[in-house]
Amino acid sequence: MQATIPASTTEVRSKRQSRFNGRLTKGLLYLLLIAVALVTLFPFYWMFVSATHTQSDIFSAPPPLWLGDALERNYGSLLERIPFWRNLWNSVYVAVIATVTTLFFCSLGGFGFAMYQFRYKNLLFGLLVITLMIPGLLNIIPYFLIIQFLGWLNQPIALWFPGMASAFGIFLMRQYIASSISRDLMDAARIDGATEFRIYRSIVVPLIKPALGTLGLLTFIGSWNSFMGPLVVLRSREAFTLPLALRTLEGQIQADWGAIMLGTALAVLPLLIIFVFASRQVIEGLTAGSIKG
């Protein structure tokens, strides 16, 4: 014991040293991580700032880094150039219907795969998983041709109908339902005379609300941001969803960048608000879906 006394003083010193080092590294680490976050967020900040400036202010040296006073002017210019609220409504309409139908069909399908034994079940589920791996681009031309054949060009149904029972959604729901619904509960309901659909509606749906929330968020975001699908099937300005409308705005010869940035900011804002309140659910849903997939 006595012999260790000198050793322990150096030990204390080195411990203090290493604690200081630890704090220093930690401080530097925080600094670095926050710096990366600021660089990542800067384009969003820039978007909102530019939305309140005129075109000549946006492209000036030094660039404006605080809100300006051209918001009203930009708004007027935006409405002159595209039917902005109409386009926003189209986006909301498609995203809401896509979300509601996806939630219904995917939870129903996930329920079927999770809780029942039936012939060819494994084969069918394997097929479903394989379709997850087909690159989306492969389908773009046939997708257009089918939509044209059905007479759905320029109509919102072309955007939400084909994907409403998505393989990804069914897969996500199946995983959740299999781990959260008990067969005993279903049997009890059957004894009480419930039909299978009634079991779905009255027992399954209330118990899988968190998963429905996640899938709903992902579907809404996906539909809101979708570009290539609408680009291929929508033709008129009035039918455009927001991404297409913004693109025409940017492609105009006499483009007004103040108005473009305002339109872009307004288009991003709803998702930003959703993300502020539900970032955990969105992040976990997107990654859980892809990790398990």
Binding site: F59, L145, M164, I170, V268, S279
Partner: protein, 323 residues
């Protein structure tokens, strides 16, 4: 109840019980048949035809493998393929090189700010490609773009000037107008939009590594870099493999960002034309559906081959056999 002839209600009940699961899973298969399987088969058929969709189905003409032969001799197709790979590598590789250390730092060192920081990195991923492309068009502006102004400042600041030695006389850079800069500009945007997704993937994987491993290594005197290289990286390998697979498949189909940054044209000298864009222009602007369908199958083949090579060298059969 025990009568041999069951009452109708019981028979109905048995019927619905038996067929309910089929009914529940059928919407996917019906929709897949209409919007997935049939179109895919049809596009195989289409790839052997010459057809302008505006002139109706009757004008379809069988041309054999002419569409494929044309593409294989088409300089634009090869250029688009080269561009696609260039952007895929230059935007994709750094995503992982940055995301892995960032995730490591987030999981090991930061507790209180972990979620807000992760959310900040992730935000670009859930933002529409159109919106972020528009914002980056202004950032990439030639004369008064934020990026050029920043580079201008850094190039003249004594501490950082040496970094910009090579490009100082190129300023201001016409990012989206001059051919050599278009691919880098697209890659910057794609990197920015997707690195956060990888940070989240890697964080999730890092969380599953037991703390005891690190503690044991610390007891043995391993410093932070050693712990990173000898514990984290090997255990992270399955996730790296998975995340890189997603990057390969996603990046080889890149469409939105290059399309928007180059105004739908591919930019000067088609320097920003990806295969997905070329496919779109062939089918929907030049109305040559047969060639476009053939191109989609060639791209499918390329993606399949790239994924196969990746699986072969970095999958279970490759690296894992060493263990």
């Amino acid at each position: 109840m025990s009568s041999p002839q069951l009452p109708l209600s019981v028979r109905l009940d048995r019927f619905q019980r038996r067929f309910a699961p089929y009914l529940f899973v059928s919407p996917f298969f019906i929709l897949f048949a209409i919007f997935g399987l049939f179109p895919t088969l049809f596009s195989i058929y289409l790839s052997f035809q010459a057809w302008n969709p505006v002139q109706g189905l009757g004008t379809m003409r069988f041309v054999g493998v002419e569409n494929f032969a044309f593409l294989l001799e088409d300089p634009w197709f090869w250029q688009a393929l080269g561009n696609t790979f260039w952007i895929a590598v230059v935007s994709g590789l750094p995503q992982h090189l940055v995301a892995i250390p960032l995730a490591f730092a987030l999981v090991m060192g930061v507790r209180s700010l972990r979620h807000p920081l992760t959310a900040a990195y992730f935000l670009p991923f859930i933002t529409s490609a159109v919106a972020v492309s528009i914002v980056f068009i202004t950032i990439f502006g030639t004369h008064f773009g934020v990026l050029n102004q920043l580079i201008g400042v850094l190039a003249n600041w004594p501490l950082t000037a040496w970094l910009f030695e090579g490009i100082r006389d190129q300023l201001p850079i016409n990012w989206l107008g001059r051919a050599p800069y278009i691919k880098p500009a697209i890659s910057i945007l794609v990197f920015w939009q997707f690195f956060g997704f990888n940070v989240v993937l890697y964080s999730a994987a890092l969380m599953t590594i037991p703390r005891e491993y690190y503690e044991a290594a610390a007891v043995d005197g391993a410093n932070l870099p050693q712990r990173f290289f000898y514990i984290t990286l090997p255990l992270l390998r399955p996730m790296i493999f998975f995340a890189v697979t997603l990057t390969i498949i996603g990046n080889l189909q890149l469409f939105d960002q290059p399309f928007l940054l180059t105004g739908g044209t591919g930019g000067s000298g088609q320097a920003g034309l990806t295969v997905a864009m070329y496919l779109y222009r062939t089918g929907f602007e030049w109305l040559d559906m047969g060639t476009a369908a053939a191109m989609s199958w060639l791209l499918f083949l390329v993606i399949g081959t790239a994924t196969f090579i990746h699986f072969k060298f970095f999958g279970r059969g490759g690296l894992e056999t060493r263990e």
